[in-house]
Symmetry: C2
Subunit: 341 residues, 2 copies
């Protein structure tokens, strides 16, 4: 650790000027003579000078750091958004402090508190499960700018970046209908989840548009959107002899789990049962047959979230008008739903 970080005083001594002069020169202040500026900037560059983040943060009360809180980095879509966030933040000169809420309300609350103490300039949050208790977020939002993304709650009056889930689901289901299917099962997610509700809405609207009666026996719910739950629910469907010729999963995972169960019972996909999922994960291209899925760009979402957050950081608005930005989805049609592919 035999290393001396170089600071303003060092440069000041070299040129026999004051620290203030050096500081101003480096920040391009008009106070300083061009010639002096040039010299100072030159040696600063040569000595590889970089301002001390903590001194700067202390003085300016601004840290160029944004905090990111997500439930679980392992979820593929979360990783994608994170990638977008990291990239855009770097581009715009911000650092990112990352934390997981690990699906627990308590962790989320604590983490938010810690982030605030860390003097982050703003917070990017993907909410846990839609618990009814959102006070901690509301309270935090009085202290610093917060933008919500992906998993949100419509009860929180903050800027939100989401995917147009309803439209995405609608497109998927419409596609299934256009393949000639009318008995379409929907396996939905947790009941208090905003996303799940939106996707269910899309499903219902598509049926309505084509005058297909809604059969509640075709609508199921799972708590965790895992392979396993998809698998089990499909088994229940088969066991109960519910007649159906298509299935729309709230998630690729549940769709893929369902496919497994269907294949085990020798149903042909898509001939007997056409299947579609949501989120277009990598697995969609691995499962046989490849899964038709609603594709949402996490990169885009991450990028958008950062942009809006930084905008709010820079505009110290007293009255903030929360906006909801809906990102478009695209339907990736693959073999699981379409015989002609």
């Amino acid at each position: 650790m035999s290393f001396k970080k170089i600071k303003l005083t060092d440069i000041a001594k070299i040129h026999h000027v004051s620290v203030s002069t050096v500081s101003k020169a480096l920040s391009g202040h008009s106070d300083i003579k061009l010639e002096t500026k040039r010299k100072i900037i030159e040696t600063a560059k040569k000595l590889n000078y970089v301002p001390d983040f903590y001194a700067k943060g202390l003085r300016l009360q601004k840290t160029f750091t944004i905090g990111v809180i997500i439930p679980d980095v392992l979820l593929y879509f979360n990783s994608t958004v994170l990638k977008g966030i990291i990239h855009t933040a770097k581009e715009m000169g911000y650092r990112v402090l990352l934390s997981e809420s690990e699906h627990h309300y308590k962790d989320e609350k604590e983490t938010i508190q810690k982030m605030m103490n860390s003097n982050v300039d703003g917070l990017l949050i993907s909410i846990n499960k839609e618990s009814d208790n959102i006070d901690h977020i509301l309270k935090a939002s009085e202290h610093l700018p917060i933008v919500l993304f992906d998993k949100i709650s419509d009860k929180i009056p903050l800027t939100k970046i989401v995917v147009d889930e309803e439209k995405g689901a609608f497109n998927a289901v419409e596609h299934l209908i256009l393949q000639g299917r009318k008995r379409i099962v929907h396996i939905g997610g947790a009941k208090n989840s905003y996303s799940s509700a939106q996707r269910l809405e899309g499903y219902l609207k598509a049926l309505k548009k084509y005058n297909i009666p809604i059969d509640l026996k075709l609508i199921y719910n799972c708590e965790e959107v895992t392979l396993d739950e998809g698998y089990k629910i499909a088994q229940i469907l088969l066991y109960n002899n519910i007649g159906f010729n298509a299935l729309f999963g709230v998630t690729d995972n549940v769709a893929i789990g369902a496919i497994k169960a269907l294949k085990e019972k020798k149903f042909r996909i898509p001939k007997d049962i056409a299947v579609a999922g949501f989120s277009d994960s990598e697995k969609a291209m691995i499962i046989e047959p490849n899964l038709t899925s609603v594709s949402q760009s996490g990169l885009r979402m991450g990028k958008t979230a950062v942009k809006y957050l930084i905008e709010e950081i820079n505009n110290p608005m007293d009255v903030r008008t929360p906006r909801t930005i809906e990102l478009k989805t695209t339907l990736k049609i693959r073999k699981s739903s379409s015989i002609h592919r």
Copy 2:
């Protein structure tokens, strides 16, 4: 933003004492009378006081922050390690600053520089591609503790956390041999990658142990370890009519890509060709048949890396003895390699 962060002076005023007294009381200094301490601590708790991270960082020259640099959050194993890092860091009272090198030497270098300027207490790095140029890391390591994980270079004398790749590969190949296969293809990774070299070594050792002659025609390399490259190389193998009855992919991705090509040509797996991969990604359970794979615990790796880093941070050793910690792997045997499952 109508909010006043509470600071030492506030508490000081309330109790008509000086800031120094408050500071000492809160840090449990023996200078302060027990009664005074009690009172101060109480109001601090009530007012939800938390020390300013930046003031503290500036004064103490320590930030309780570790920087993490990985090539790509989207790689599943990277995410797992990251999860382990986040969790353990939080547990030990550290924050994590995350950045991606995005597979570029330039980004890696710049990021390291930035992290150093950010006054992180230590750095956790998973190296890019094993470029020959590692000067930037060596140089940085003179300034602050660095621990390498997963993707490393044996040319860098630093503490490293890796998986016992050779042993893992050995086990996988031995398993294939014990299934009665002798013509085993190996699709390896980039030639200058340390991991790939280790896995190749394991492959060779297993063959040697069972007196199976090494046939160079069975050994291939790909630059990027993607589905696509695995797919293409398998096609080349088939096109050239190389006779083989097993395949060991350097990665689940290339193994799965290969399986795709093999299945297209109606080869039965594992009957005609047994396949194994490395890393036990989620996809291993999706592909049909499920892929036998070497499982490595990313969580464990992340946890270990953080622990060693913090140890180095706390022990300001002048002469650091670099250690290499090798984590054990386990072979997950699935249908792609074993008829009896």
